[in-house]
Amino acid sequence: MTNDVKKKKQLMTRLVPLIVFLCVSIFLYIGLFRDATVLESTFIGRPVPEFALNDLVEPELQHDKSVLSGKPMLLNVWATWCPTCYAEHKYLNELAEDGVYIVGMNYKDERTKALRWLEELDNPYKISLYDPDGMLGLDLGVYGAPETFFIDSKGIIQYKHVGDINPRNWNSELKAVYEQLK
């Protein structure tokens, strides 16, 4: 190998650490604008699992997964101990009035507190499920509140949104997702 070629090869080798570092930096930069705690859902494209939960308002009434199919809908996971749910609730009322079909799932909460909340803040939910021990939540991969599942008429989960629904994210992305549900 001639001296020049050898020198070029050595230069290329010595540039490797720099190139690797710059590539890593790109990922670090992107990471600054992402929320590291958000987990994607394993249920996209999968049907809602089997369950048997009582109704929140009428304790003797039992629901199963058939309530989560038949039409495009939102399944909203909420609780009275969750302050973000409180902030989200008013907008859910608006959406419900606009014709969005929302089913509520009260998650790891107390029935009396939940009922009082719905009385005071209005009830946007066509059906209210009561999941006091969070077992349906576990089966759906719920890890906090509020979370909202976008389910189509066949009962297939097409999208999951973590965090509150507000005018900004509804209009910029979630509305389109909802409208695309068949």
Binding site: Q10, F21, L28, L32
Partner: protein, 654 residues
């Protein structure tokens, strides 16, 4: 008024950093003695001003000045004074000020204690350190100012320091870690200065080495201290979780360990120079990367500081400037670094290099393991977690060749391999057998089952110990009798022995705890007894135990072994009035050389019995004592008389 003095002091110090970064460097380039000599006074002034700034902040804490926002967020009037002071570095802004102060300390130290170094080279080194200071000081001033006032609002009292931090660990752990992280900037500056100058003779390694060793000692001690603190504070019986913040401290340590060995070789043999330069750049770069990871919110961790994208951006930009710039300089000017000399396959150089490679491989494991979840998710491939099972598994496999090579290396000669290696191979074979025998004997005596994984760990530890002792014997009896020869061995030599034996001790502690730890969660009523690991734990009684700011219960346990009473342990459960929601457990730890016993009291259960957790941790103290021994080894290395700069010969040659 006084906090403003601290703020102003910081601003002036920043201005001095600018001067320090530029002036002496230009002086070095054009060979102007006046500008070159300005480096030392600038460094000292910067140090004095940073100290003033820091002292002012500490004063604000000590006097409960809650008009300063940072004090209000992290302190409280009822906090004991020692925690008020350590609360200075309990949050993001103050800890950065500590970082910057530490940098100023190191810069001044290098300026003052470097009589053997040509002034031109020293000027470059100090300028580089000044550049780093600019970055940190601007970061503090522009995004994270601890002196910001809350006025016109004046809180009546502060938020208080997180109770888990109200502990002696906070007093020592962060300062020691920072001394380590920041200390690697000295090696970094030496490397950059050498690259700028375009020459790297063996003296460079000699200058850089003591500074790097001191930084390494601090980092080793800081990490060991953090591990011990987590063990007793968090009470999960664990001492390392491979959490991203922990990894951020371990990566510079791995690079630093490789570096101190590489520097030794570059100094003695004049080889590995290019590699040593790259390591010098890497160790400090990893410190900076750690700073970014911990403060940017990019990774999820219990230890992370509160994050803010603006701050993250600044650090990232700084990181790219410093690391990118230095790696670019290395790429372009690295050709000027020539290593002359060769070494045989079975030489000490080769085996040192093998372990360097293994250390950096371990570093890559940690680095990739820490960053891959982020990359994986950003590439749309989903969220994954990389934790304890993965890291423990890989490190087990890396440790095997590492410990073997570590035992062999000191027994080899420099440069040439022995004409006849057979006597050495025979010695090593004997030692290998002895190690395995001891490794099987240890669990046979202390435990009831012999586990292969543990035996491997113990065998590696005994291998290191016996080869180290053999090496001492061979060196000592080289020209004298053993008794005389031992006294003639230099501190540097003992440093090596202690460093390696410290590692062996850690291996024993880790192998024992990982494989023979016993943990039980039980429900116990007063009068109940439980037996395991040859110990009888008798739950004697439980009663109310209230304090000035809490109420709770204290359980008394009598511990006996083989029928003989050993000790009494008191485990408590407290509800602090200030924090009713989360009752705290005061765990009882009975430490010992061969084992720790640990008892934590949980809640009272429905049937009136109490939830009790008991751990038996064999040889766990060896982990931290091993770290301590390694640090002592490092200190011995620095105290070797070669590094006493009262060397008249060197001074004359100036």
């Amino acid at each position: 008024m006084i906090p403003e003095i601290g703020h102003f002091s910081l601003i002036v110090a920043t201005a001095l950093s600018f001067l320090l970064a530029i002036y002496p460097l230009i002086g070095a380039k054009i060979n102007h003695p006046g500008m070159i000599n300005s480096a030392k006074p600038l460094a000292i002034m910067q140090f004095l001003l940073m100290t003033l700034s820091f002292v002012v902040l500490a004063y604000a804490f000590a006097t409960d000045d809650f008009s300063v926002g940072y004090v209000a967020t992290n302190s409280n009037s009822l906090l004991p004074l020692r925690y008020k002071i350590s609360a200075v570095w309990g949050g993001h802004e103050g800890s950065l000020l500590l970082w910057s102060l530490t940098l100023a300390i190191w810069t001044a130290a290098v300026a003052v204690f470097s009589r053997g170094i040509p002034k031109v080279a020293l000027a470059r080194v100090l300028s580089v350190m000044g550049m780093i200071a600019i970055g940190f000081n601007l970061f503090i001033l522009l995004t994270s100012n601890p002196f910001d006032r809350t006025l016109p609002y004046l809180p009546l009292d502060g938020n208080d320091l997180n109770p888990l931090l109200q502990d002696v660990g906070l007093i020592f752990h962060p300062p020691m870690l920072y001394m380590g992280y920041v200390g690697f900037s000295v090696a970094f500056a030496f490397a950059i200065a050498a690259l700028m100058a375009g020459r790297l003779d063996s003296a460079w390694a000699r200058w850089s080495r003591p500074w790097t060793l001191v930084a390494w000692v601090f980092l080793t001690a800081g990490i060991a201290l953090g591990s011990w603190w987590a063990y007793y504070e968090l009470g999960w019986g664990g001492w390392w979780f491979w959490d991203p913040v922990e990894n951020s401290s371990f990566m510079p340590w791995l690079a630093g360990t490789a570096l101190i060995h590489s520097l030794a070789v570059s100094e003695k043999r004049g080889v590995f120079k290019s590699w040593t330069v790259l390591l010098s750049i890497s160790a400090f770069s990893l410190s900076l990367l750690g700073t970014f990871l911990v403060r940017s919110g990019v990774l999820v961790s219990v230890h992370a500081f509160a994050s803010d994208p603006a701050r993250g951006l600044f650090i990232l930009a700084f990181l790219i400037a410093v690391v990118g710039g230095s790696l670019l300089l290395y790429a372009v000017k690295g050709s000027e670094i020539k290593s002359r000399g060769k070494y045989g396959l079975f030489s000490r150089e080769t085996f040192l290099l093998i372990n360097n490679v293994l250390l950096i491989a371990a570093l890559l494991v940690v680095l990739i393991g820490t960053l891959l979840p982020l990359v994986h998710k950003e590439l749309g491939m989903g969220s994954i977690s990389i934790g304890v099972p993965f890291f423990n598994n890989i490190f087990f496999y890396i440790m095997i060749p590492f410990a073997i090579a570590l035992g062999v290396a000191p027994l080899l000669r420099w440069k040439k391999q022995e004409a006849d290696l057979r006597p050495l191979f025979i010695q090593l074979a004997v030692i290998a057998v002895a190690s395995i025998v001891l490794a099987v004997a240890l669990p046979a005596i202390f435990a009831d089952k012999i586990k292969i994984v543990a035996v491997v760990g113990f065998a590696l530890a005994f291998w290191v110990i016996i080869t180290s002792l053999l090496e001492v014997y061979i060196r000592a009896t080289h020209r004298h009798s053993f008794a005389t020869g031992v006294t003639k061995l230099g501190r540097s030599h003992w440093a090596m022995v202690l460093g390696h034996i410290g590692l062996a001790m850690m291996l024993i502690g880790i192998s024992a705890t990982q494989n023979y730890k016993i943990e039980k969660d039980l429900r116990m009523l007063p009068g109940d007894e439980v037996v395991f690991a040859d110990y009888l734990f008798e739950f004697e009684r439980i009663g109310e135990a209230n304090g000035s700011n809490y109420e709770g219960y204290k359980a008394v346990f009598n511990i006996s072994k083989d029928g003989k009473f050993e000790t009494v342990m008191h485990a408590e459960k407290r509800s602090y009035f200030a924090q009713r929601s989360m009752p705290m457990t005061e765990a009882a730890i009975d430490w010992g050389v061969t084992r720790d016993l640990y008892i934590a009291l949980g809640e009272q259960l429905a049937d009136d019995s109490w939830a009790v957790r008991i751990y038996y941790e064999p040889f766990i103290r060896f982990i931290w004592w091993g770290g301590l021994v390694m640090s002592i080894g490092g200190l011995l290395a620095v105290s070797d008389r070669r590094y006493r700069f009262v060397n008249k010969g060197a001074a004359k040659a100036q």
